[in-house]
Structures are given as C-alpha cells and as structure tokens.
C-alpha cells in the first residue's frame, strides 16, 4: 500500500545535481589529496540515556566546504556542535570517541574549550546578534580574547565585515544597533563576528534556513568565497544548497553517518540505498 503511493511521486527534478552549478566544486581527487583539518573517529554521543550519534567516522579536509545533510533529528546538528564542544553547555551529555583538529585531540577535560572555540567559529540557524551596535558585535570576540585598542579593533572589525561582504552596507552605521539590520544582514554580521576571532574552521548550522532566497544566495556566494581561507562545515536540510555550495557531503540518518564523499559523487552516484532514497526525495 505505502509502496504504491510513493511510487507515484515525481522523481526527476528533485535530484539536485540537475541544477547547473555555477561554482566549481572540488573534485574527489582534490579532496583526497588535501590534509585532514578535522578527523572524527568512532564518535558516540549521548543525551542522558538517549544515543544521538553512533560510531561516526569522518574526515574533514582543509579549505573545503563539507555539507552535513539528513532528515530532522538525524544528529547532524549534534555532530556539528561536537566540533566546537558547544554540547558541553547541555547538562547530562556524554561523548565517546575522538575528534582531532590539526593533529590534536579536542575532547577530554584538559582541552581549553574557550581557546578551541576561538579557532572553530560558529554561525547559528537563527541569526543571533547581540543587542548592541554593529561594531560591538564584531569586536566582541577579539575583546574577550584580550585585544585592546580602538584602532586595532577597528581594523579587525573592518576586515571581518569586508570578508563577510557586509562592509559596504554597514560602514556608515557601525554604531547603530545590530537589531536594526535586515535578516540577511544580521546573518552576515554573525558570520563577520565569527571571522573576527580569526578562526580556521567555520561551523554553520543551517545558516540560511530563516532567510529569503536573495539573502540565501548572498550567503552561499559568501561561503564559496570563504572556502579558500577557512575550512567550512555546514549543516543544511536543503539538498540543493548542499549541492550548490559544498565539496564534500555527509549524509546522516538516525544518528549514523550513512555515507560521505565528494558532493558530485554522492549526488550523482550514491553508494547506499538510503542515500539515494533521501536525495531523490523518497523520504525526509
């Protein structure tokens, strides 16, 4: 019964690679040749008694965009938040396995999570600027890291805003409240804010899901531009987006990493049946 009804659904346009890709993705060979920025080894994660991630092993190559896709609740956001240990904020959580950043473990009680988070920036699903001025938002990271001096901070703020492709829009309103910016501007401000601490990894948790198509497109352009300087990991439930911006894609389902590979490969020739079903829109 169920089988029959799903068969009726159109399959054709949902395969995302049918869209022309403006920005060239890195090839599988290129990915394989790059040093791993982050390598995750047999990662298990628990919220209390509930296991949210089981046995995830994944390489994240340097200066590439890695997209994490999968249906709601599949563990992709949890995985992302393991990479800068934001899950530490939640009571009753437990993590097993290993995460290596540049050859050093980031798990374990001896790691300085504060320093880790300065190197692994994060952008959230819903833009969350501080209720302060544009300038203060971007300057906050360097400030809490001990950077003093208005001129130094100003330079960092300018540079970060330029990189986040926001400078031209806000250079005359640096002292206005960040909450007065539009939704898309707020999200780019959050990206600039993350860049200001000079990270080398940028985590993005569905950064465009609350934005209109035009703003989404700007964010995607930005991600592509940032790729050469930063290693980017992006969670998205929009497969087209994953296909448009990422070099590597990892598909999560029910807490497990089902399949990971170069984006071209994964979308054109998935190895696993579940991946195929998901990217063709049979479930999720």
């Amino acid at each position: 019964m169920m089988q029959e009804t799903t068969i009726d659904r159109p399959i054709m346009p949902l395969r995302p690679t049918s869209f022309p890709r403006e920005r060239p993705s890195r090839t599988a060979d290129d990915l394989a040749g790059r040093p791993p920025k982050i390598s995750v080894d047999h990662l298990n994660f628990y919220y209390g008694p509930k296991q949210a991630l089981s046995d995830v092993t994944l390489m994240i190559p340097q200066h590439c965009v890695t997209a994490l896709i999968g249906p709601s609740g599949c563990g992709k956001s949890t995985f992302l938040r393991c990479l800068n240990r934001m899950n530490d904020m939640i009571d009753n959580t437990r993590v097993e396995g290993e995460i290596i950043l540049d050859g050093r473990s980031i798990l374990g009680p001896k790691v300085d999570v504060v320093a880790l988070r300065k190197r692994v920036g994060m952008v959230f699903q819903k833009s969350n600027p501080f209720p302060k001025s544009v300038f203060e938002n971007v300057a906050y990271g360097p400030r809490v890291a001990g950077v003093r001096g208005k001129s130094v901070l100003y330079e960092i703020v300018e540079k970060s805003l330029v990189r986040a492709a926001l400078w031209d829009e806000v250079k005359d309103r640096l002292n206005d409240s960040a909450l007065q910016l539009s939704g898309g501007q707020q999200q780019r401000l959050c990206i600039a804010r993350a860049l200001a601490t000079n990270p080398d990894v940028l985590l993005m948790d569905e950064p465009a899901s609350a934005l209109d198509p035009a703003s989404t497109s700007r964010i995607e352009d930005l991600i592509f531009e940032l790729r050469d300087r930063y290693t980017i990991v992006i969670v998205t439930h929009n497969m087209q987006q994953a296909a448009r911006v990422s070099d590597q894609t990892a598909f999560f389902y029910q807490g497990e990493l089902i399949e990971a590979g170069s984006t071209n490969e994964l979308f054109t020739n998935p190895a696993r049946k579940q991946t195929e079903d998901y990217i063709t829109g049979r479930f999720g």
Binding site: L101, D102, R104, I106, P109, K110, V111, D112, V114, A115, L116, K118, R119, P142, A145, G146, V147, V152, E155, I156, E158, K159, S160, R163, L195, A196, T197, N198, D200, R229
Partner: protein, 313 residues
C-alpha cells in the same frame, strides 16, 4: 593572508596549540566561587533561622515542658508563669480563618474575571493596580483597622471591643487579596487555550467552561495560591498587632480581643525584657512555632506547585 589585519593576533595567542593543559583562569574560578557563596547565603539564612530559634527555644523548654507549651490553655508568661501556646495559636488561626473567608472567594472570583472575562485593556489596568496594592505596607493596614474598620465593626456589632479579631481579619483579608488574585490569575491563564476551545466546541456555556474545565485544570495551582495566602495571613504582624489586641484568649468569637503569635512577639520586643530571662526566651519558642506552621504551609504549597509543573511540562 599574512599581512591582513585580521591576523594581528596570531594563533599562538588565541590557539589551543601548546596548551595541552587547560589554563587555570584564576579570575573565572574566583568569580565562580563568589557566586556560589552568594547562593550559599540563602541556605545559611535558613540554617541561621533554625539555629537561633532552636538554640534559644531549647533553653526555654528546659524550664517549661513541651507538653505544657503545646497543650496549656493559658498564656500568661509575665504574671502567672503560664506557658500554654493554645490561646496564641487560637487567636492566630481565628484571624487567619476570617481573612480566608474574605480573601479566598473574592480573590478566586476576581482571578476568574480577569483571566476569563476581562478584556486585555481592563487586565492591563487592574494588574498593575493590584501590584501597587500588594506593596502597601502592613502597618498602613493596621492603621486603617484601628481608625476605620474597628469603629465600623463596633457600629454593626455593639458587643465588639475596640480591639477585636474581626477587624484584624478584615484588613488581613484585603491585604492578602492582591496576592491571591495575582497568583490564581497566572495559574488560570496557564490553562491551555485548546482545553477551553474543546469545551466550547461541545456546546458549553462560559460558566460550564470556567467551572467544569478551567478551574479543575488549575486546581493544584489555586490550592497553592490559597496556602501561600494562609501562610502570609499567619505571619502577618503589624496590622494584627494593632487591630486584634494584646489579650491571649481561647475563643472562636471574632468580636473578642485576641493575641496572635506575631503580636505577642511584638509586644515582648517592645518592652525592655532583659536577654536571658525566661520571658525573653518565649519570643524564640513562639517564633519557632510560627516558623514551623508557616513552613509547613509553604512546603505544602510548593508541593502543589510542583504538581502543576508536572502537568504542563
């Protein structure tokens, strides 16, 4: 990249490299401990109350048996060395009961009105007014009890004395009224809208919905609000000390002069009772009784509040 401004602070300063051991961050730790200390003050307050009350009361009970204290029907520590707390307890409960008769029904009906009937503009006016009224000091109500309420009571019931439990009950009732309304209204409004709509969809009138759906759904919270009001009425001091009088009487007649536990403590504190005497220690024994009674009601109320939380979370 190396010449870009953003890199003025290189990773050596930001990074985790070379820092296998977590830096100590003394400042953070000191602040954490200080904040913990602030929270500890609240625990120490409770401990302090218990120690002070129990230590002095223990001295008192060395000379007066607990049995006599709890069952004696006369309280006359100064003149006759009679230490039965029943008259004080009776006075306290009499005033409390009178206050409850006023505050609970009026309070609940007002809360129902505000939550179920009133327009939001009415609510926006009445709620702040209630807040202000809740902030009027006890002594102001005491003044009103003596100057306004007591003469009124005596006009209606000529047998009443200048000081009587009824006047105290009336002012205490109106004192705790804002609290009953506020707490109950919050609880009633927390009842999910869907529940009301379900009842309306079945053809219920507003009365049916309120009495048979909303109030029963909120009953735990309402009981908690009532218990807190009773506890507040028992602990009420200045108004009662002014209005109810200073004669410990074992009576249930609201027109009689009575003395509450709180009023007794005030009476002794005002005199020049030397520390260390038996009379001085009665303050602590009575204080302990008062503390235990109100604590019992508060804990009970907390228990009901916890039940509400379970239901909606």
């Amino acid at each position: 990249m190396s010449n870009s401004v953003i890199d003025v602070a290189p990773h050596g300063r930001f990074g985790i490299e070379g820092q296998a051991v977590r830096p100590r961050r003394w400042g953070e730790q000191v602040i954490g401990v200080a904040l913990f200390g602030c929270a500890l003050v609240s625990i120490l307050t409770t401990v302090g109350i218990v120690i002070v009350l129990v230590a002095e009361a223990a001295q008192f009970f060395r000379e007066v048996s607990i049995w006599e204290f709890l069952t004696g029907t006369e309280w006359s520590p100064k003149l006759e060395n009679k230490f039965g707390i029943l008259p004080l307890l009776c006075g306290t409960l009499l005033v409390m009961a009178g206050a409850a008769v006023i505050a609970l029904p009026i309070g609940l009906l007002s809360a129902i009105y505000l939550s179920e009937y009133a327009s939001s503009s009415v609510r926006e006016v009445v709620k702040p007014v209630l807040e202000v009224l809740a902030g009027i000091p006890s002594v102001v109500f005491g003044y009103l009890a003596i100057v306004t309420i007591s003469p009124l009571v005596r006009t209606i019931f000529p047998s009443a004395g200048v000081f009587n439990a009824a006047s105290a009950s009336i002012v205490v009732g109106f004192m705790v009224l804002p609290m009953v309304v506020s707490l109950s209204e919050d609880i009633l409004r927390a009842v999910p809208r869907s529940l009301r709509e379900a009842a309306y969809a079945l053809g219920a009138t507003k009365l049916d919905v309120t009495v048979k759906v909303v109030v029963p759904a909120a009953i735990s919270g309402i009981v908690a609000a009532f218990l807190l009001a009773l506890s507040r009425a028992i602990g009420e001091t200045m108004a009662v000390a002014l209005a109810a009088g200073n004669r410990p009487t074992l009576t249930i007649n609201p027109l009689d002069e009575v003395q509450t536990m709180t009023a007794y403590i005030v009476q002794v504190s005002q005199g020049d009772t030397p520390a260390g005497t038996l009379e001085y220690r009665t303050i602590f024994a009575v204080g302990l009784a008062l503390f235990v009674t109100t604590m019992f009601l508060n804990v009970l109320a907390q228990w009901f509040v916890a039940r509400v939380r379970e239901k909606y979370e």
